[in-house]
């Protein structure tokens, strides 16, 4: 039973996803709740898998009874289990927010939207646990198609344009990934990560071949994860989508691609191999540019959702920087940031979605003036997440910076701490003025009919608790990092 649990999670989400449009007409509320409960159950199952993977080693499943390299192998290491847990937790909390957003949507649209979100979740879960390169490609494409759908869900014309831009660039990315998979298969004869990596190590191939494979993967996943300078689609797509879709896309989707890239890289070449190929330093440079350029672009935005989207470019940079530094601390920092950035960004998007709603759809930052008095609880969550982004001590964002500092110094790369400090200052420069506006800005008295933002309080609570006691999670992540590196 436990061996099949990973597959059951993915399959049940897929099947329910396609059933949602059938039932939404008669049982709208029930469909929404069932979808939310199902992702919550998936989070529970991921927690079981994480516990099991930490205590008795990875859970292997050979699909259809065909052992690797012939069949598709599903492996849940502590790393994949952790990412699955983060993903399903955030998706389920956003799912509980969705009915609030969908109040004036027609039934049909609600049904298909649930389908797309569940499809996206299932595909990302499959992507994290699969150990077979071609299987990864298929899940990559399923998740991409679902993301295009939720970006285009709004009726206004910018959404359509943003979705097509995203589609074109993401498909170029998939082309590069598939080409890299093709070259890997052509030279090694395997699609299974473990076998392919062994064949690559024993084959004594010309370094140019391994280098081409690695760069193609880097370009492909870099586009999908919004790594600078391949991020051009991201601000448009993440800001034009409905609030819940922005929270999901910025909060979890881009990060899963970054983690999958790390799995492929460490799985195929190993940390030392990456360093020897020069790919690690390439990732570090691109990541640092992401951090600086993303923050700088965020600074000049006046549209809150675009600002948060540019901030995602910067924050994804932290994750890539952690992977580029390698070592237990670097990888643990990256994984920890995947977790807390997921919480912070979805908190920020959900709470600012409420402000946009209050201001009648205007996304200008001036709309935040004085909303602290009108919406005290959502804005408290917003403040917590914003300050945590800046990385103040005792808030969740601090530990990432601390670990990156450590990893940078111990790897002897002294500009990494400098980049981290500059980025914290830039973060402060664009988040603190908004926090100031929220609590001390002036606004005319305004009747607020509905103060609730479902799903927001749990997100903020988890964020606060993690900030106070990050120790246990970091221990787990250091163990997960060992699995990735070795």
């Amino acid at each position: 039973m436990l061996d099949n649990l990973p597959v059951i999670i993915v399959v049940s989400l897929l099947m329910t996803g396609f059933l949602a449009p059938l039932f939404v007409g008669k049982f709208r509320r029930t469909t929404q709740v069932v979808a939310g409960m199902l992702t919550l159950a998936a989070a529970g199952a991921s927690a079981v898998l994480l516990y099991r993977a930490l205590n008795t080693g990875p859970v292997y499943t050979a699909l259809g009874g065909w052992e690797a390299p012939w069949g598709i192998e599903v492996v849940v290491t502590p790393l994949s289990a952790f990412i699955m847990l983060v993903l399903t937790t955030i998706v389920s909390l956003v799912m509980f927010y969705m009915p609030h957003e969908q109040e004036d949507w027609p039934n049909q649209k609600v049904g298909w939207y649930i389908t797309l979100v569940l499809l996206l979740t299932a595909a990302l879960l499959g992507l994290t646990m699969s150990n077979d390169l071609f299987n990864m490609y298929v899940f990559l494409e399923v998740s991409a198609l679902a993301s295009f759908g939720i970006v285009a869900a709004k009726k206004d014309r910018n959404a359509g344009d943003a979705a097509l831009k995203y589609l074109v660039l993401a498909t170029i990315g998939s082309g590069f990934v598939l080409f890299a998979i093709g070259i890997t298969y052509a030279v090694t004869g395997y699609l299974n990560l473990g076998f392919a990596s062994q064949a690559l190590a024993e084959g004594q191939f010309h370094p140019i071949i391994t280098w081409i494979i690695a760069t193609f993967f880097l370009v492909g996943f870099g586009i999908k994860a919004g790594l600078f300078p391949l991020h051009v689609w991201l601000p448009d797509a993440h800001s034009s989508a409905p609030t819940s879709a922005s929270a999901l896309l910025s909060g979890v989707v881009v990060k899963v691609y970054a983690v999958v890239m790390a799995r492929v890289f460490f799985g195929l070449f190993g940390g030392a191999g990456l360093e020897a190929l020069g790919i690690s330093s390439l990732i570090r440079i691109a990541a640092s540019l992401s951090i600086l350029a993303g923050s700088a672009f965020a600074l000049v935005q006046t549209d809150i959702k675009r600002m948060l989207a540019y901030s995602t470019v910067a924050q994804v940079g932290y994750i890539f920087l952690g992977f580029g530094l390698g070592g237990v601390y670097g990888v643990a920092a990256a994984l920890y940031h995947v977790f807390i950035h997921g919480l912070m960004k979805s908190t920020l998007f959900l709470s600012s979605g409420k402000v946009v709603e209050l201001r009648g759809g205007s996304r200008d930052i001036s709309g935040f003036n004085g909303v602290g008095k009108l919406l005290p609880i959502p804005m408290a969550a917003f403040t917590l997440a914003a300050l945590s982004m800046v990385g103040l001590p005792i808030l969740a964002g601090f530990a990432t910076k601390w670990y990156l500092f450590d990893a940078g110094l111990s790897a002897g790369i002294y500009w990494v701490p400098v980049v981290v400090i500059i980025s914290s200052l830039l973060n402060a420069a664009y988040f603190l003025p908004i926090v100031w506006r929220v609590w001390f800005g002036e606004t005319e008295a305004h009747e607020v009919s509905n103060r609730r933002v479902p799903g927001l309080i749990p997100l903020a609570l988890i964020l606060a608790v993690v900030g106070l006691i990050p120790g246990p999670i970091l221990r787990v992540l250091e163990e997960a990092a060992v699995w990735l590196i070795s």
Binding site: F134, Y137, G149, R157, G160, D161, L164, G175, L178
Partner: protein, 123 residues
């Protein structure tokens, strides 16, 4: 070296078509051409996969029990590419759907004009 390159010409051609497709997507502002460029690019990857499964002098992979020293071509890449084609068709369908929607909402399918319209909207 040159012999090897010429002998492996399908790979070279695949790389060339891939570059052509990529260039088409990035250089044209007409959305339809972008969609066509994506398809050209993906076709190049499919060509690469199928070519990598070919074995010189290989027979179709239908096992002949009486004759054990026949060389077969590798059927796996072709099977994988069937999936790839399905994916490519669905992406194209979605892309065309979005192009229709954009044409309806903006009255044009030229990316530059759309950018202009959007910046006028914001101003």
């Amino acid at each position: 070296m040159v012999d090897k390159l010429i002998g492996n010409y399908p790979y070279l051609i695949a790389a060339l078509i891939f570059a052509v497709g990529c260039y088409t997507v990035l250089s044209h502002s007409n959305l339809m051409r972008k969609v066509i460029g994506i398809n050209v690019m993906e076709t190049a990857v499919f060509l690469f996969f199928v070519a990598s499964g070919n074995v010189l002098g290989g027979q179709p992979p239908i096992i002949d029990l009486n004759n054990s020293d026949v060389i077969y071509v590798n059927p796996l890449p072709s099977a994988l590419i069937l999936t790839g084609i399905v994916v490519s068709v669905s992406v194209t369908a979605l892309a065309l759907g979005l192009v229709v929607r954009i044409h309806r909402q903006f009255g044009t399918i030229d990316a530059d004009e759309i950018t202009e319209i959007r910046s006028n909207d914001n101003a």
